[in-house]
Symmetry: C2
Subunit: 313 residues, 2 copies
């Protein structure tokens, strides 16, 4: 094993980059803008230039680099090919091949960003020490990443871990962004929690801290929940019942050692985890009833950690 | 790779055994009774005696055997340990260790029978050529086996692929064998289909072939369905909607290349697959909408095939 590796997390606005020792320590991390003009053709060259500059700055030779692992905001097949990535303007991009030629032969791997983040959390985060985990990212949407036997489950169609689109309510009348109705994401994302809150507040209710909120948001709901606000408790319980029950079904498929909960909503911390755990255990199949829950520990850096971990295999 | 391997499928009544060439051909297959007396302590010695006798009969030396792969009717951890197997009377049995010592050092692996059968179908059956599949066994219950990257997903608690216990109806009032309510198994097993049929026939309905059946069974339902019986169509559609929708959720987790449908109910053949597929595609997330469905091809031999495949890795 060589001494260093790069992890890159390409987003629609910025690319996060980390230089790591392959033993796990960050040496340096930084960001560059993502240039989505010209069908995103500048993105990989810009990253390559930034990596080469960093090597020069640190006096590290290319021979000391084990590889480069890259997370992409869209589906990626098992060979690192990106058939289509709307956020970057890409179509049929062979990330390992293009990047490797830009980096004079340094090995490159690529994966879906949510899956790569899950791998990062397994390596140095909330799932450290595990080989089997399900990461749940509660942000604007609900993302997921599944690691089994220490490997990303990319899926035959790049849809491995797309748990936000599990149908949890066949009777829903409002459509999800994916076009279907009743997806987990419609209830368990920050947007979903806000919707549950607005629906509840529109009905008759006792006085709530949320009545005085300037803006109803997932954060406002959890802030009120922590102050034992009754209405916020109802909202959080509805959210937690839906999510906990969906995770109990995922356990009947993948049976992970741990569920790692991340994303913006996870800033609510331990009370969030406790609420999800409660409803998970009520719903779970007996063999999986004790599955552990953990908060994600790497925040926005999970992707660069996971990128490095990808090339260590 | 040595020339031969053994696959063993231990059931509560009989053990199925196969001698295979490791290239995939069956050389011989046979059964012995499962002796569950004395906490099942005779089971592994009986199997070992039968294997040694077969080697003698065929004039094959132990040095020509790659290994022995064994399917167990209960949870098995990643190392082949069986914490508890009610059907066999076992508690804390280290199958590879015990069997290996009985077989004078031939390597032994063990796995849960449903998972091992899935591996068999991947190797030489309905999923041949795939590395990622979900096998669904529609029998008295609903079993499942998941293979990703060519490996069994055993799960942290041996519950990988326990898809029969996914909750599909939180409003169910009748309990499943597992003690919870609304499990997939309550609707999609042979028993479940029979129940759906009896419930439907108890309500007002137009004349049906099922009215003349001596016994309502899944087979009777599918026989009537194939003759365009309206009531049978309603029952099959309800079953297929529940199962197809559950499989669409599994696709958002594991995203397999193919769903392989086996078990007694699968004898209904192509019309069964078509019904499940129809509702799967209606419910599926866009990326997985074209996932293939196939009938299991190995029948009761899937377990012995999978046993051999286990030891080839």
């Amino acid at each position: 094993m060589k001494k260093y590796g790069f992890g890159v997390d390409i987003g629609g606005t910025t690319c996060k980059i980390g230089l790591f020792e392959t033993a796990g320590q960050v040496v340096d991390k930084w960001e560059i803008p993502t240039d989505t003009s010209a069908q995103g053709t500048n993105i990989l060259p810009d990253i390559a230039a930034s990596l080469l500059e960093k090597l020069k700055e640190k006096g590290i030779s290319k021979e000391e680099i084990e590889g480069i692992g890259i997370g992409i905001p869209g589906p990626v097949d098992g060979n690192g090919l990106v058939p289509m990535c709307v956020n970057l303007g890409w179509k049929d991009v062979d990330v390992p091949k293009e990047m490797q030629s830009l980096m004079e032969g340094i090995p490159v791997k690529a994966g879906n960003d949510a899956n790569v983040a899950a791998l990062g959390e397994m390596w140095q985060g909330g799932g450290k020490g595990c080989q089997n985990l399900v990461m749940v990212t509660l942000g604007t949407g609900v993302g997921g990443g599944i690691i089994l036997h220490g490997q990303i489950v990319a899926g035959a169609n790049g849809a491995g871990g797309e748990i936000g689109h599990i149908t949890v309510n066949p009777h829903e009348s409002i459509a999800c962004n994916c076009g279907r109705k009743g997806c987990l994401e419609q209830y368990a994302s920050a947007t979903g929690i806000t919707r549950l809150a607005k629906e509840r507040l529109a009905k008759e209710h006792e006085t709530s801290l949320l009545d005085q909120s300037d803006e109803i948001s997932a954060k406002a709901v959890f802030d009120a929940y922590k102050q034992q606000d009754k209405v916020a408790q109802e909202i959080v319980e509805k959210f937690a019942r839906i999510l906990g029950s969906a995770l109990s079904n995922i356990a009947c498929v993948a049976d992970p050692e741990v569920f790692v909960i991340g994303g913006g909503v996870s800033k609510a911390g331990a009370p969030l985890i406790e609420a999800i755990e409660k409803y998970y255990r009520e719903a779970a199949f007996s063999s999986c009833i004790d599955t552990r829950f953990a908060l994600a520990a790497l925040g926005n850096d999970a992707g660069i950690y996971g990128g490095v971990k990808m090339i260590l295999e």
